[in-house]
Symmetry: C2
Subunit: 695 residues, 2 copies
């Protein structure tokens, strides 16, 4: 079979990544977790995280069961391949599994990081970063294993039944649905959970009961800590797992349309497999000397990421030439466009959100004139920050298209765009590691504070934590950038799917129904954000009620004699989050189908494009405004513009609170929204084409 | 000449509207202006308004001179007809003239309204509404006169030189540029002025010097009052003048592509002319009994608007049948779609922003938990409120297209969309009247308060003012709805223009450059809003400095012995506003040209579509969030949730302050942005096609 070698190489690389994480995890677990006090604190977070995951997977399970049956029925009526329902289950399961493993390791690493910080900064960095690397590599390992095995199975069975390459590609591109559905729960539900817990804990603790932040008597405090892991580890991981799978599958589908055959299908697999090795090699570059400053720490992480990028770029060149032949080496340019786009968006995200630069300093300064001005300046900063990422994505897209030779052959141009996304995500193993490292460092700092470590330990964990904020910002930029390129590729793949299914499309942008679709698509991200922000408010309310109840019913709690029921607070919050995502999820899945049925397949394409463009812009606005408010508050707390306790600080806190649902709930949820709608369109394409009112 | 009768009818109707305003104005001026105190207060606002207009027209003059020369040069090189530069000047001049007349009458009517309120509520309503009607009718009168005479001139000279119908239509469609440029200054500059003055006056008066709001010792207080007229009369008028002209001209251009000939060109003129008479007839329905409640007042205004709508609908049916023949009576359906869309968007705007309904009550309730929650709830309300207007515009567009028979002949479908816009705007005379009535009533209330009128007078002016808030909200919905339909028609006309000029376009939405254009277009409204909001902040700062200077330098001012220099504060603020719009204006005009040159004409089309869809959504979000915060504050001030002076009230004030630049600066500016970019694309089409890097 053509390209068999690459298939095997892909599966082996994926297994290698998984085995490597076992080695990493064992190494982490060998470290000491510290004093009994430190272990106890870490233990509470572990229990909370388990409680959260148990609740989430229950909800996901029901949802998956329902959709699985639905897909089975549709497959039975020949609206899709019988493979799709099963791929849906397996893809979702692997995503959930990687989230579970990542969270388990992260919650086991925080106290160990604190403990290691007693010895040296480098050792602490190693522990926290290793934990992040477990998450990064397990995500890419399981994702690539899923695709590798799935592809082998579809090809093999397809060959036996005499199905051609188009059948294989159009079946494979439906395989992303499981990842998307699980991402919805992890990212949107997680986002609602984390900010609901945060706001609820603050409201009832600081405001009502007058106990300090992070006080162990507050039953919601562990939910708040769990939330950090949930959002930035499980949520971010599921988001990028979806992008990773989506971009590879879309590019595979586009290979067929571009006439590149089995070899073209193999290329994204090969590049992703090479990316695993590049990530692992890059990870060895992450180390610092003992007298390291914060900028040394940042440089160490950057060295790892840039190193991996350079390795994958060089290796990809040879892969392209070896697999497709020298006549296609222009595709190398497309790939570079993607890799550069990811790095550039990350960099500019940092510029707009870090308090080292002017924009966030201006937001902090606006606190001096009150609550309203800090809100206006933060919104203005978020809005202004959308220009550069949009221009980067535009240039990367046009660049990837042109390098691939899109002007003589549009189909190969679209394949080039897909490849740019694959290139951007190829180093996901290490870029996700720098991202997942943040919450571990954050929790390590919390652990150091709650267990009363000596000042030098806290100085070290603070240095690690502060770095985590920077990597979180760039990580978010990377996530939304990759979501945009992935969605572009998915939309192109959707068009191919429709053509393959014999659907007729008038793709002219002056087609009124297509225009109507763009209009609805431009509106929906705003409407969705509104639902997400309100869900946070209601979840916070449910936490407030639970905490009040525990204060009332558990005797000796306020005196510190009895322990609160942390797990129950986590469970209540998780339950509320699960309920809250039902409506937004249902609308997001039904909307593309409804638009396709009632306004036609072109309107559906317009919907996807409108949602992609507006959703991308809104997601960046919300993420950057939120991060900027957050850092402006920290900047003031560091003693600028009067410092803590002043009116300026109060105004900055208002900004931070508004920013919370922006940056951790609504903003990142839009990454999922744009991808999920495209995947739904692909999977239900046949059903829509055959049942639309506008044929 | 074919359709000559309609041409003459159009010009006569326009003249009739203008003559009718003279009669109305004389009637208003005959009324007594009241006590010397009342006259003095009104006089200060008059002087301020004149100072503002003088400054604005100076800025506009320079801008027009520069663009005129530029257009002349382009016309010299045959990139456009020689008519265009001159039409640019005349169209802009008429817009400025109507703004000048409207503002003069409005500032002369406020004290007269207060004075009339001493006699009866009905009399006060009559004065305020008559003043609004002057604005409404002068706008439609001058606009239609401009088009009527311009059309006659182009046709006549065109006939002599042997140019065909396409030449006439493609020249005429460029005639909207003057209205757009003047709208930019009036709406965007006016928006910056009004909120800069408002925020500046509050900062320096209430916060620094501890004198109450609207205190005559504050030199900025008149600037604040002037601002109300500037935004809601001159700004709104120029905005709708642009929409009115744009929708008629675009529909005329689309008539040629639809093969409807001179008759098709005449139809929008005939409908607009009929709309003038319908508006005047409707205005006679606006009257109340003396014991009228607020809901009676609203019903009176609604009766006028609905009455005019019904008249124009019936008259249009006969116009369509008489002009185009019974075989085109389906176009009547398109027209109705437009009229209904305007009314529906207005209605739902009221639902989301009035404190009689749940959404704004929820915003007020969120004030109880602090500044952050009121901001989040307001934003969520604004975001949620985008869904209905988008669905209304989508249905109106598809409806207008289908009724016109777009599925068998797409060109006539687009003509139907244009006609929907013309229908929506046909009753502009009276709908703008209900809108411009607001600031007059508002100033009348201020006058009554400052001149210490007996309670029953203030009760009456309060009733009028409160109604003004409702009409302002629906008016804003109407303005953005009409901007969307106008822009749609303009974009369609742009496409025709490009085809006529021989430009080649791959309009497929999967064309990467077109997609890139949509991306940039989706981003630009956010970027523009960021600039507009920051401009408000800087203008407020300039006012603060001027007021401080006057407090320092004018002796006896604080003791009430000397008068502040109101005109200077107005001038400083106007100057700052004029400077602040330079950069956003320049970018808005250059961006379409730059995108066309560097990314091709298809990218330009994408840009327009992206900006239209995203800008429409963002404009609604900002306008409704702002109005909702405003009314939530008023709801609390009326005694709910604790009333004035409580923490909840402070939080609500924060929401209101954030909402100010949202609803009065950035939001309405986006109406101009989407239309102006389309007009620029049309006027520069030939230049772009001949100089683009992507042919």
């Amino acid at each position: 079979m053509e390209g068999m070698g690459i298939q095997i190489f892909t599966i082996i690389s994926a297994l290698f990544a998984i085995i490597f994480t076992v080695f990493l995890a064992k190494n982490i677990m060998k470290k000491k977790e510290g004093t009994p006090e430190m272990i106890e604190i870490a233990q509470a977070v572990k229990i909370g995280a388990k409680a959260y995951l148990a609740r989430q997977y229950k909800g996901v399970g029901v949802f998956f069961a329902i959709v699985f049956v639905l897909l089975l029925i549709l497959a039975k009526f020949n609206y899709m391949s019988m493979f799709v329902p099963f791929a849906f289950i397996v893809g979702g399961f692997f995503s959930a599994l990687s989230g579970y493993i990542g969270m388990t390791i992260a919650t086991n690493s925080s106290a160990r990081t604190t403990s290691a910080a007693k010895n040296s900064l480098n050792e602490a960095l190693k522990v926290a970063f290793s934990s992040g690397l477990v998450m990064g590599l397990i995500v890419v390992g399981l994702a690539l294993l899923f695709i590798g095995i799935g592809y082998t199975a579809v090809r093999w069975i397809g060959a036996m039944r005499g199905f051609d390459i188009s059948y294989v590609a159009s079946t494979m591109v439906c395989f992303g649905m499981g990842a998307s559905a699980q991402a919805l729960f992890a990212r949107v539900g997680g986002g609602i959970f984390t900010k609901g817990a945060d706001v609820g804990a603050d409201l009832v603790g600081k405001v009502e009961s007058n106990i300090p932040e992070d006080d162990p008597r507050n039953p919601a405090v562990i939910a708040d800590n769990v939330g950090d892991n949930v959002g930035d580890i499980a949520g971010m991981g599921a988001d990028l797992y979806e992008s990773y799978i989506g971009s590879i599958l879309a590019t595979m589908a586009l290979a067929v349309a571009a006439g590149l055959g089995w070899k073209g299908i193999s290329l994204p697999l090969a590049i992703s497999a090479l990316g695993i090795f590049a990530s692992i090699l890059g990870s060895f570059l992450v180390r610092v000397k003992e007298d390291a400053t914060q900028s040394n720490l940042l440089k160490a992480l950057r060295k790892g990421l840039y190193g991996a990028s350079i390795i994958v770029i060089i290796a990809s060149y040879f892969a392209i030439v070896a697999i497709l032949g020298p006549e296609h080496k222009r595709l190398f340019g497309s790939l570079i466009c993607g890799v550069l786009a990811g790095l550039l968006i990350g960099f500019f995200t940092e510029y707009f959100t870090s308090d080292s630069y002017q924009p966030t300093k201006n937001v902090a300064k606006a606190s001096l004139t009150g609550h309203a001005t800090v809100i206006i300046e933060g919104l203005a900063t978020g809005m202004a920050s959308t220009a550069v990422p949009v221009m980067v994505i535009v240039m990367a897209t046009i660049g990837a298209y042109m390098f691939a030779g899109g002007y003589s052959n549009p189909s190969i141009g679209l394949y080039g765009i897909g490849l740019a996304g694959v290139g951007l995500l190829s180093t996901l193993g290490i870029s996700l590691a720098t991202d997942s490292y943040g919450p571990v460092a954050d929790n390590a700092g919390g652990n150091a504070e709650m267990s009363h470590q000596p000042p030098f330990v806290r100085q070290r964990t603070d240095a690690l934590d502060s770095l985590g904020n920077t990597t979180a910002a760039t990580g978010k930029g990377f996530a939304i950038g990759s979501a945009a390129l992935t969605t572009l590729a998915l939309i192109a793949a959707f068009r191919e799917q429709v053509i393959l299914l014999g659907g007729k499309m008038d793709l002219s942008v002056m087609n009124v129904r297509l225009l109507a679709g763009i209009f609805i698509g431009a509106m929906y991200p705003m409407f969705f954000s509104s639902m997400a922000m309100r869900a946070v408010g209601r979840t916070a309310q449910s936490i407030v009620e639970e905490v009040r109840k525990q204060f009332r019913e558990i005797k000796g709690l306020m005196e510190g004699k009895a322990k609160p029921d942390y797990a129950r607070a986590v469970d209540i919050c998780a339950k509320s989050a699960q309920q809250e995502i039902l409506l937004p999820s249902a609308i997001t899945i039904i909307l593309p189908i409804a638009v396709g049925i009632f306004l036609g397949i072109e309107a559906l394409l317009g919907l996807l494009i409108g949602a992609l463009t507006s959703g991308f812009v809104l997601a960046i606005m919300m993420a950057n405004a939120g991060a900027s408010w957050d850092n402006a508050k920290k900047y003031i707390e560091a003693g600028n513009f009067g410092g803590k306790g002043t009116d300026a600080h109060k105004a900055a806190v208002t900004g931070d609170t508004v920013g919370d649902p922006f940056k951790d709930t609504a903003g990142p949820s839009l990454n999922i929204l744009i991808k999920l709608m495209s995947v739904v369109a692909i999977v239900f394409a046949s059903f829509i084409i055959n049942n639309t009112l506008f044929k």
